[in-house]
């Protein structure tokens, strides 16, 4: 197995000690099949135990290890070292406050995610005894892509609009709202529209599309947001031109 030495430049920040973030360099001997997360784990295990970063599954499922790798929002467990030059710079996700080293404060996203009610709001009252809510494969296909979101927040980090306007509800939250709106078992669309059809929600999106480019699960949040815009426009005309028509 071939081994390659890389310079890992890691952003370090300790709120108790540092006035501002700084970079620390580590020389890491990497195996060919290593990802950036392996290199960080090597640093933590053998070189510097004080380094802080989030990770869990090491297989692009948990969404914990999102960080900037050479300036691009990436899951550290999906970024193969062999695809990068000998010097790799690792920083915490852009557009989020730093808690410590590579760990960011996620409160803003968590609060926004809950606001769009990303859960099934049953469309019809059904007792447990009357059986399951059935769904055809075609009905499932309408929204399945949007269920793949792992809340890794890479899309928020890539979105220039979120960087400019922190109130923006953002790609993942709106894409997840869209996922439940499209679900044949769901009846909560009117409630969610009150949140996502506002100025600082879907209408803040200028369709840059960076969210879909960085999404590690191919959710295509940018596509979801354009569909939400179209549906919200139809809503607007119905509400203002045909107010007597029931939804």
């Amino acid at each position: 197995m071939s081994e390659r030495r890389i310079e890992l430049e890691v952003l370090r920040y300790s709120p108790e000690r540092d006035r501002e973030p700084r970079f620390q360099s580590y020389t890491v001997p990497c195996l060919d099949e290593w990802v950036v997360l392996d290199a960080l784990n090597h640093v933590k295990d053998h070189l510097d135990t004080t380094l802080s970063y989030r990770w869990s599954c090491h297989m692009a499922v948990c969404g914990s290890c999102g960080m900037m790798v050479n300036g691009e929002p990436t899951l550290a467990c999906k970024a193969f070292v062999r695809d990068y030059p000998d010097r790799i710079r690792v920083e915490p996700l852009a557009n989020f406050p730093i808690e410590r080293d590579l760990v960011t404060v996620m409160d803003d996203f968590m609060e926004k995610l809950a606001r769009v009610k990303p859960w099934l709001i049953p469309g019809e009252d059904k007792t447990l005894g009357s059986g399951e809510h059935r769904q055809t494969p075609a009905e499932l296909k309408r929204f399945k892509q949007y269920t793949m979101c792992i809340n890794c927040m890479l899309c928020y980090s890539a979105c220039p609009e979120y960087g400019l306007v922190p109130e923006f509800l953002g790609p993942a939250a709106i894409a997840l709202a869209h996922r439940y709106n499209l679900d044949s078992r769901d009846g909560g669309r009117a409630e969610r529209q009150e949140i996502i059809a506002r100025d600082e929600a879907v209408w803040q999106c200028s369709f840059v599309g960076a969210c879909s480019e960085v999404c590690p699960k191919h959710v295509d949040p940018a596509g979801a947001l354009q569909q939400v815009k179209l549906a919200s426009t139809v809503d607007w005309y119905r509400e203002h031109l045909l107010p007597w028509v029931k939804k």
């Binding site: 009150e194 059809a197 100025d199 209408w203 200028s206 919200s232 426009t233 809503d235 607007w236 005309y237």
Partner: protein
């Protein structure tokens, strides 16, 4: 905070984008063909003049011009925002005024035919 009224401008923008994507390339090709002296029989001056003289033709042409201009104006507004230029209200007024002026000019021209 109520629902947004952005659908008014965005609906026209989306319609204009569709028109621009499908019609504009055709118009460019036909214009180049005409400039090179290859005017198809269907698109001779007399026929196109007759098309523009009919009220349906006028409506179609006006729709294409108005939606394309609106689309371009809105796109420019958003692009300026993305470039970090603040002052959306001023930008919006200027670009939409351009689109409105162009639309009025096309309406006047069409009505004179």
């Amino acid at each position: 905070m109520p629902k947004s009224n952005k659908p008014i401008v965005w609906g026209l923008f989306a319609a204009g984008g569709t028109v621009t994507a499908f019609i504009t390339p055709v118009l460019v090709v036909l214009t180049l063909l005409a400039a090179a002296g290859h005017v198809p029989d269907l698109l001779t001056y007399d026929r196109l003049h007759a098309f523009a003289a009919h009220w349906i033709g006028k409506a179609v042409l006006f729709g294409i011009v108005f939606l394309s201009l609106w689309h371009a104006a809105h796109r420019l507004r958003i692009t300026l925002h993305d470039f970090g230029i603040r002052g959306d209200a001023l930008v919006a007024v200027v670009v939409y005024l351009f689109a409105a002026a162009g639309s009025v000019a096309s309406a006047v021209t069409l009505l004179r035919i």
